[in-house]
């Protein structure tokens, strides 16, 4: 199969209208908000050196914060704010998706606009400003009729820079729940679907270039005082915005939003649930690539309707429990805890996806390591790798408390690269996932946990508070409960980690459903 006829292109194109539309909407809203704040600030600051210095310093500092971090920071901030407004003023708002993305991106867009507006205004010929006063203009009239029009080309150049930055950075708004072209990139990275990654990057680049060229046309028209060019550029921008707004307005809002965290298994399970909902005549859309802490809060707030989490993860991270009861008891207590937040624990899928320390079987045999307790005595000479969150998760603390484990070195890795890394000897041990198909593929072995430091991690289906009484939804998902065993999930994950068309989450979800039906 040639690269160009790869059916994954078609799959990517199918999402384009949705992803691109959302991307343009969030970018345009952020840019508009950024301009609305930056322009008056710059105008106010141009003759106040102290304010000017402070503003530019703050904007520069914001610029040094990595885009992903800035976006991620806005989520808890807004969540806290929403609970405050709910308590004080009786209304809350969604801290998920659009709002935090727009705020963070708007903040990100400010520096070039501030800097160029101040530079542009200060660069206006002093003689012309005096002439403006001389012909009888008030300071306000001088600003709007003379200074701003003359500074406009420089200001436009700043807006262009901002626009390109915002469009590029908007791809990072996927993990906080805002659909964007970043969905291609995050999904592609997680499932090692490079076609998707390329497609996402390419689409974002084309969009950035197109907007930049349209704004360049406006800037050029302003500089050369050619009204036609300015009008053409403005028309292009307006057309782009309208084109992305129309389908959003025309399309009925999808009734069920299915959440997925940032790894392959989650993409497959989300696709599986979406298929079940559609089969039951419900409409469904997925919100993929959500951060581990974002997704639970999004469910609690009703921003998503359903997703799959793991009992141990909630036990430790959400409810901060340190005891490790037997699995049935843990599920029971978890159910009670969740009910306090009106979240429904619909049931278990039937498999467990626990964190496990994993090393090549051959190496483990050589060193005589069968359990984590055996590993402890070798740890000082070994290195360990985990995903981005593992070393800050309570599981890691519990493991170290139970076994010691003074590893020589710790590394963080993209989850899908860890298995290859440990198989090739790049690292000695990884904190992998027990349901991962790659454990079998690379002939690795998951070490026993004799002291039960790590709690059970049964995959459980959670429903949002507003779906607690939704029998249609429950009925649609019921056939999945208890029907996916660990071997099946491993195979599904292995299939999804491949790098061909049959490895798309949708295709694997269909395979998985056939397995469930036939058993």
């Amino acid at each position: 199969m040639s690269f160009l006829t790869d059916p994954r292109w078609g799959e990517a194109f199918a999402h384009l209208a949705d992803y691109l539309g959302n991307h343009v909407r969030v970018s345009v809203a952020a840019l508009a908000l950024g301009l609305l704040v930056s322009l008056p600030l710059a105008i106010a600051a141009r003759q106040r050196p102290v304010l000017r210095t402070a503003l530019l310093a703050v904007a520069s500092v914001v610029q040094t914060v990595p885009g992903l971090a800035l976006l991620a920071l806005f989520y808890p901030l807004l969540l806290a704010l929403a609970s405050v407004t709910l308590a004080w003023f009786g209304f809350g708002f969604s801290a998920f998706g659009f709002l935090p993305a727009v705020l963070a991106l708007a903040l990100y867009s400010m520096l070039p606009v501030l800097r160029n507006t101040i530079t542009g205004l200060n660069g206006v010929d002093g003689e012309l400003i005096e002439a403006a006063r001389g012909v009888g203009m008030t300071p306000r009239q001088s600003l709007f009729a003379v200074e701003l029009p003359l500074a406009l080309p420089v200001i436009m150049a700043g807006i262009r820079t901002s626009a390109v930055w915002v469009i590029g950075t908007a791809t990072l708004s996927t993990p906080i729940g805002q659909t964007s072209l970043g969905n291609y990139i995050f999904a592609g990275l997680q499932t090692q679907n490079w076609v998707l990654v390329l497609f996402g990057c390419f689409a974002a680049a084309v969009l950035a270039l197109a907007v930049d060229q349209l704004l360049a046309l406006i800037e050029n028209g302003l500089r050369a005082r050619k009204r036609a060019r300015t009008a053409l550029g403005s028309f292009g921008i307006a057309a782009l915005v309208v084109a992305t707004l129309v389908p959003a307005l025309a399309r009925p809002a999808s009734s069920y939003a299915i959440g997925a965290k940032t790894f392959t298994e989650q993409y497959v399970l989300a696709a599986l649930m979406a298929d079940r909902l559609r089969a039951a005549g419900l409409s469904a859309s997925s919100r993929q690539g959500l951060g581990s802490s974002v997704i639970f809060n999004a469910l609690a707030a009703g921003d998503i309707d359903v997703y799959v989490d793991y009992s141990g993860t909630l036990w430790l991270n959400q409810f901060h429990r340190t005891d490790t009861p037997p699995r049935e008891k843990l599920i029971e207590e978890l159910k009670a805890e969740l009910e306090k937040q009106h979240i429904t624990l619909l049931g278990e899928l039937g498999f467990e996806n626990a964190y496990a320390l994993v090393m090549p079987k051959q190496r483990a045999d050589e060193l005589g390591i069968r359990s984590i307790a055996d590993l402890a005595s070798h740890a000082a000479t070994l290195s360990i790798a985990g995903d981005y969150e593992f070393f800050s998760r309570p599981e890691w603390g519990a493991l170290r408390e139970a076994y010691g484990l003074p590893f020589k070195a710790q590394r963080q890795m993209q989850p899908d690269f860890m298995y290859a890394a440990v198989a090739s000897g790049e690292v000695d041990v990884i904190a992998g996932y027990t349901s991962d198909g790659l454990i079998a593929k690379y002939d690795l072995s998951a070490l026993d946990d004799p002291r039960h430091a790590i709690p059970p991690y049964d995959a459980i289906v959670l429903l949002a508070p507003k779906r607690a009484g939704d029998e249609k939804l429950k009925a649609a998902l019921q056939p999945l409960l208890g029907r996916i065993d660990i071997a099946t999930m491993r195979e599904a994950n292995l299939r999804a980690s491949g790098n061909d068309a049959a490895a798309s989450p949708e295709a694997v979800a269909r395979w998985l459903w056939q397995r469930i039906e036939n058993h």
């Binding site: 001389g134 009888g136 203009m137 009729a145 003379v146 029009p149």
Partner: protein, 284 residues
């Protein structure tokens, strides 16, 4: 020969002036202004200047750069504020007037035009009436009138932009802009300084004619004594912020001050040298 014909013209004008109202159109009384210089010292730009300009009069203020002549002009319509003294325009203390309103009723011609580069000729000329809220059709009529008045043929110029004009055309537009709101007073800051001699001469004469036709009161800043003598009824000489002398050319010629005498000698010497070099030129 040149000077004789000038003296004759002054006499005629002085008579005209005598008939007009005795209340000055513009009056400066002990006006002073200083600016922050380097460090803590202050630079005095205008030092205790008292001067009166009658209605219908054309006064030229002559001085080297840094003599304070431009500062004095800017004080008149409150582009800057005085430290000491009192300035009245049409008998009204400018400090009591609304500065924006004051500027709208005083025409101002800037050095090298200072036309707004993003506005067409018509928009530049019509700016003050527009600020005053004059309806667009009236502004359009007024713009055509003014283009005619400053000898720029209407259809050709009104939609052009300043960068498409020559220096002389730009300054004609500058004059038209100053006259748009029918001011009784026009202030001119070295209006013809950057122009070539022929254009400069033509524009000076044309403006002089306008001044008379519209019964304007004009204060013109220049560093060129010849220009001042040729165009103005009366000349004031400034040096280092002080008003050294004022009067008609005849009055000035009697002034004992060395600097004033030197300023007056230069154009005369040039005229005599030219007369010698160009015999038979039509000055007789």
């Amino acid at each position: 020969m040149l000077t004789q014909s000038f003296t004759f013209r002054w006499k005629v004008r002085s008579c005209v002036r005598g008939v007009l109202s005795t209340l000055p159109m513009i009056a400066y009384s002990h006006v002073g202004k200083s600016f922050a210089g380097r460090g803590t010292e202050r630079v005095t730009a205008v030092d205790d200047v008292s001067l009166e300009i009658a209605e219908g009069e054309f006064l030229a203020i002559v001085g080297a750069s840094g003599s304070g002549k431009s500062t004095l002009l800017r004080l008149t319509n409150r582009l800057i504020e005085p430290d000491q003294g009192r300035i009245t325009v049409e008998s009204e203390d400018v400090q009591a007037a609304d500065p924006v309103g004051l500027r709208r009723r005083i025409g101002y011609v800037f050095q090298s035009g200072a036309l707004f580069p993003h506005m067409s000729v018509a928009d530049n000329i019509g700016i003050t009436p527009k600020l005053q809220g004059t309806p667009a059709d009236k502004i359009a009529t007024r713009v055509d009138e003014l283009l005619e008045l400053v000898q720029l043929r209407t259809a050709d110029y009104r939609d052009r932009f300043p960068h498409e004009l020559s220096g002389g055309q730009r300054q004609r537009v500058g004059v038209a802009r100053a006259l748009a709101a029918r001011p009784r007073i026009v202030l001119m800051d070295e209006p013809f300084g950057a122009l070539d001699p022929l254009t400069r001469d033509a524009l000076g004469d044309d403006y002089r004619a306008l001044h008379r036709k519209l019964n304007l009161t004009t204060v013109m800043i220049t560093h060129d004594m010849t220009e001042a003598l040729v165009l103005a009824d009366r000349v004031a000489v400034m040096r280092a912020g002080k008003l050294l002398a004022q009067g008609t050319p005849a009055e000035l010629s009697k002034n004992q001050d060395g600097y004033v005498a030197e300023l007056l000698r230069t154009p005369r010497r040039q005229a005599e040298r030219l007369n010698a070099l160009l015999p038979g030129d039509g000055a007789t």
